[in-house]
């Protein structure tokens, strides 16, 4: 079975994660961040997937529905959305996500599967889990962590977990990436273990009271459990701050990375909407861009990722930007290095320039 844990660090990306979890951030035109992990699980044969939410659930629940688009609208297993339990008697809101796991232990006990893959949503990859499963079972380890060896782009994974491995790929400890070393083993925060091991980690963690987060409870057990690691070498990106969000979208304007992410091991599924074909008028000038359906493009678009239903009027110029759904960019508006959240309206003649490396973020529903 699969578990996607949505309690993620959102401080550095709050411009677009203020009112939605990272998992629900629109990305690559028509997707949301969670689509990648969810699709990877389904493509790996997992048919019982639980999403442990952590608040701000409206958009993610609206997006996931009953899981039908990921083939998870099933009688046996399928998609479950498990929200934190809020007792009216509780005056203090507890920190962390371990409470939520404890409150949903029933779900874990009742699931039929023997193994569980616990993941986050913010690590984007197109990964075939089957070799990792085989490796885990064969090695007899208690927990297998999927990781990627990084040589160069370590600054993109600042604050991500790093693994200290011995020669046999056993995990001796877990640290954090400060961005100061050339070579790191970055954890994808994807853990394969027996369901019973997970239940034990949760229960022991609550019993000891030494962890507010599942991750902490897991780390506290590294010494007494047999934990190894499995290497992954395909496309990876993490959506934990605005810069990474911007870079990931822009990277997809290249055929190679785009092919790796969208096509390597399986299709990436997402919620399907009945959008019309995108119409280019006779004044449209579009180059090097990813354009979703439902748009009407009359202006100039260069190096952009454009979401669904966006209207760009004649004479508007949009460059190096990410435009989310239903934005309206009026005539002669001029945007460069901008990130527009959903439903933004940019009126005539408005100019908004961010900088390379420092894009200008405009919040949802704003009218400029």
């Amino acid at each position: 079975m699969g578990i996607i844990n949505l309690s993620e660090q959102e401080e550095s990306i709050k411009e677009i994660a203020g009112h939605r979890p990272i998992a629900a951030i629109p990305i690559a035109g028509r997707y949301r961040v969670i689509d990648f992990t969810l699709s990877n699980m389904v493509n790996g044969g997992i048919t019982n997937v639980a999403i442990f939410t952590h608040g701000k659930t409206r958009s993610i629940m609206d997006h996931l529905g009953t899981g039908g688009f990921w083939d998870l609208d099933r009688k046996r297993g399928g998609l479950s959305i498990l929200n934190p339990m809020i007792n009216p008697q509780d005056v203090v809101q507890r920190r962390g996500d371990i409470e939520s796991f404890k409150n949903h232990l029933d779900f874990l006990y009742m699931s039929r599967e023997k193994y569980v893959l616990v993941s986050r949503s913010y690590m984007l990859a197109n990964i075939d889990f089957n070799p990792a499963f085989k490796f885990h079972k064969k090695s007899g380890a208690d927990i297998t962590i999927i990781y990627k060896q990084m040589e160069n782009s370590v600054r993109r994974y600042i604050n991500c977990d790093t693994l200290n491995l011995d020669e046999n790929d056993n995990v001796m400890g877990i640290g954090k990436n400060l961005g100061k070393r050339r070579h790191y083993d970055i954890s994808l925060e994807m853990y394969i273990m027996k369901k019973d091991v997970l239940i034990d980690i949760i229960e022991e963690g609550i019993h000891r009271g030494d962890g507010d987060y599942l991750k902490q409870c897991l780390f506290n057990r590294i010494q007494d459990l047999n934990v190894n690691a499995y290497p992954y070498d395909g496309y990876l990106s993490c959506i934990n701050n605005i810069d990474n969000f911007y870079l990931t979208n822009m990277e997809l304007l290249g055929a190679e990375k785009s092919k790796q992410l969208f096509h390597d091991h399986g299709t990436i599924y997402t919620k399907i909407k009945d959008e019309t074909s995108t119409l280019y008028s006779d004044t449209a000038h579009v180059t090097n861009s990813l354009i979703s359906n439902g748009c009407i493009i009359e202006g100039t678009v260069e190096n952009c990722v454009v979401g669904r239903g966006v209207k760009i009027k004649k004479g508007a110029i949009v460059r190096n930007s990410i435009i989310m759904q239903n934005a309206f960019i009026d005539e002669t508006a001029n945007l460069n290095y901008a990130i527009l959240d959903k439903n933004v309206v940019i009126s005539k003649k408005k100019m908004l320039f961010g900088h390379e490396g420092n894009p200008f973020v405009i919040r949802k529903n704003a009218t400029i």
Binding site: A28, G29, R30, Y31, F69, L253, A255, S258, F262, T267, I268, Y269, T270, I272, K273, D274, E275, T276, S277, T278, L279, Y280, S281, D282, T283, A284, H285, V286, T287, N288, S289, L290, I291, S292, N293, I296, E298, V305, V306
Partner: protein, 382 residues
Amino acid sequence: MRNRKKEMVAMILAGGQGSRLKELTIRNAKPAVPFGGKYRIIDFALSNCSNSGIDTVGILTQYQPLVLNTHVGIGSPWDLDRREGGVKILPPYMGMDGGRWFRGTANAIYENIHFIDAYDPEYVLLLSGDHIYKMDYSKMLEFHKEKDSQLTVSVIEVPWDECYRFGILNTDEEKRIVEFEEKPENAKSNLASMGIYIFNWKLLRQALIEDEADDKSSNDFGKNIIPKIIDGGRNVFAYVFEDYWKDVGTVQSLWDANMDLLKLDNGLNLYDKSWRIYSVNPMSPPHFVGSNAIIESSLVNEGCVIEGEVYNSVISPDVRVGKHAIIRDSVILPNAVIEDYAEVNRTIVMGNSVIKAGIKVGKKDGDILLYNDESKDTLSFE
């Protein structure tokens, strides 16, 4: 006892070949022919039903139904996967007294009287599955009820010099139908039948039974049932429809209708979110436009990779247009590949076709060509 009664049941005639669409219908029924990039022709009738509040639709199939059946499925894309009613595919079938193919449009409905009876409707809406239009049938029903009509025929004004191509209805000032003329030389009216009818079910039911018993009848709605009802002194009215409507029965008219979509303020206006046209949508990434690509006055869909030049054309999902390739005034169906330096003019390129590097297809003026890559299975139904 569950109440299955419906006010109006729709029946869509989707059994014809549409032979004037040539290779597009060799192994595909006309209503399942791709249109407008991401649709199939029947999406319009189905979406209209759903948006009009009609939740029970029978689709009569006969000719090459595989693509159509796969596309329609259980009707979920059009909100027609319902507990009671919903969409039902109705093929010819074997019974205790043997089996037979449908002999005509009226015969097809006759063989499915039991289907309609199950819902005990007051009215039956008869549609064809091969027109492109948006219409609220509930308004037509309101008109039908107001006029106390027993048969209402939806009509559209056509240019006077085109009347000879249509079934023309002559009406009085109250829109009562006084005469029906099939393809008249000297038309007395320019109101053409759109092939959309609302019948009182009791009347239609009786007419079908009588028609079936008539050996000399060709069991066709247009030739037999309709004229008989009109001549029979019943309350028959014409409902004038004034919006965009196109019968895409020929390669030329299919191309024309596709081209109509390229104008920003075209008559069909698919951008009206209050009347969406639903379809089976592809699960593909957004389309990618390359650094040297040029796209003007065109429609493009998901999954495409456009690296060449596209002018005045409709590009369906998952099409690849190579570098320096040029596409003009054409319709490219799903999954086709136009390789580098190839050129396509005024052509409908069938799905999955590959136009190899440097090859030129079609001419800049002249008739619309239908390009069928014989080496490929151009029928994609999954």
